[in-house]
């Protein structure tokens, strides 16, 4: 079974992109499923089910979504295997722009949209920088100039990536991109695999449920802004 990890900022069009890719790959009789990672709630499950896509959702709640991802992805693979999928796509929202659920040896796809502005490629860290494929969405509503500058900046941030365009509404571009995804590596287990980048560290009193504000309650991994 092939595994593809898809990440991208909230509302960048991940679900629409994945759905249009699945539709394209179905024409070749491939069976695809999705596991969706989110923080608070997600309506995307309904959307996938409406399109007859096997889907599972994981809500990280008060845990760091990335840590939640990495501690659950292996179980998801077992589920996908039991469903006899040809390809499992994991979808996760990058919430702190520091997130990057990518692993070495597993195809990594980042979805970003033109509407987020030409400076956003510089602000998104490893999630963009370490992706193999960058899918740019919402290109039909901004000017040609902004599209070109956006692509230029993405290329500056991640020169090695393949940059492709998908229109999430019409699905245009999905057939082309699906031919790329088909080249994803097949895996049986993720045991022994490594993350491409370390996850955000977060072990302070607030991680453990502290709600009171004030210096005396700040414990563990605490850092201060330089206001000098």
């Amino acid at each position: 079974m092939k595994l593809v990890t898809v990440a991208g900022p909230p509302s960048s069009g991940k679900t629409s992109v994945i759905l249009s890719i699945i539709k394209a790959l179905r024409k070749e009789n491939l069976k695809l499923g999705v596991v969706k990672f989110d923080c608070l709630s997600t309506q995307d499950k309904d959307l996938y089910e409406k399109n007859q896509v096997p889907v599972k959702t994981g809500i990280s709640g008060n845990l760091c979504p990335d840590h939640f991802f990495v501690t659950n992805i292996e179980d998801c693979i077992a589920w996908a295997a039991s469903e006899q999928l040809d390809m499992l796509i994991s979808e996760s929202a990058g919430l702190c722009n520091r997130c990057s659920p990518y692993m070495r040896g597993v195809m990594a796809v980042c979805v970003i949209d033109n509407l987020s502005g030409v400076n956003s490629p510089r602000k998104i860290g490893p999630m963009l920088k370490l992706a193999d494929v960058v899918i740019v969405t919402k290109g039909d509503i901004v000017s040609q100039a902004e599209r070109e500058v956006f692509a230029f900046r993405v290329k500056q941030t991640n020169p090695g990536a393949v940059i492709v365009y998908i229109n999430g509404i019409t699905g245009q571009g999905a057939e082309e991109v699906s031919s790329l995804l088909k080249t994803a590596q097949a895996i049986e287990t993720l045991s022994g695999y490594n993350l491409r980048f370390s996850m955000p560290a977060a072990v302070c009193s607030y991680c453990l449920g502290q709600t009171q504000v004030g210096v005396e309650y700040q414990m563990g991994s605490v850092r201060k802004i330089d206001l000098s």
Binding site: V118, R122, D140, A145, K155, P159, E175, E176, F197
Partner: protein
Amino acid sequence: MWDKFAEQKIKTIFLQYPYAADFFTLLPDVTSYRESTLREYFLGLTDEELVDSGQERAALIEQFVSFMMQMEQFKKNDDKIESITIVGGKNKKGQPENIKLMMCPGEIICIVGPTGSGKSRLLADIEWLAQKDTPTQRQILINGKVPAVNMRFAVEHKLVAQLSQNMNFIMDLTVTEFVTMHAESRMLEDASKITAKIIAKANELAGEPFSPETPVTALSGGQSRALMIADTAYLSSSPIVLIDEIENAGIDRQRALDLLIDRQKIVLMATHDPILALSGDKRLVIKNGGIYKILATTLAEHENLTVLTAWDRRLSAIRDLLRSGEAIDELPDYFAKATRKKWVAS
């Protein structure tokens, strides 16, 4: 390539390759290291600084090298595109298209056909450099040859620039800042000169003039369209410009087309406006997801274009009257005198 840079002072690198500065925007402040070599700067970064900027030490050199190579690639003026050829495939019903269309810089090709007839698919085939591997099985040739595979994924080789009615500026910048930003991303040395030229051209195309200090988001529909066209004409690297629904754009359409042609663009225009359609060199008729036929604009059509243009001006004059608050109780004589003279020559 790393050997070439490792022992150079950072200030020397910046002087020689001004664009290198962009690489450091995501890294800890480089200004105090200007006298150091690149190797010293990389070694001087602490683990914490690297983690904070989302970097890994081991990958730093590799990333710098691929960044510089990519930028060189952007700067290189690649082989000129002399022609783009569409070799026909089949339509949705599986019938062969039996066409081979060569498009050259400076040509205007109109696309006609009902919505949903397959216009988007045709453009997608061109953009993707289809090699008989899309549902239409069309093939796209560049300069008469099969293009290199990696051209598909190279953003600097995007074949089609688009101008459509749905597009908007979303950046919070003035016109000058906006065009300069685009020029810089093309790594042009005379960015300010070309920016001034683009703004002047856009003003010629727009109905009402605008100043270089206007925020792009405050431009009217017509002004935005005018700026997009002038900007694309001068700064887009794409050889093909696709224009969609330009008829209602509120700009001088003929001058806009002339500008794109002057700049040696291949203009593809989806339109059913008779004046625009007949000012093209060829018309592609799309039907059932395929190219149904290709019409070259005939001599008779050229003559009819003159007649239609005259009538268009007359209608425009009436529009102007409406705009200035006049009544249209009486039509000028020529409307009354219009006869059923055979004006569509076949």
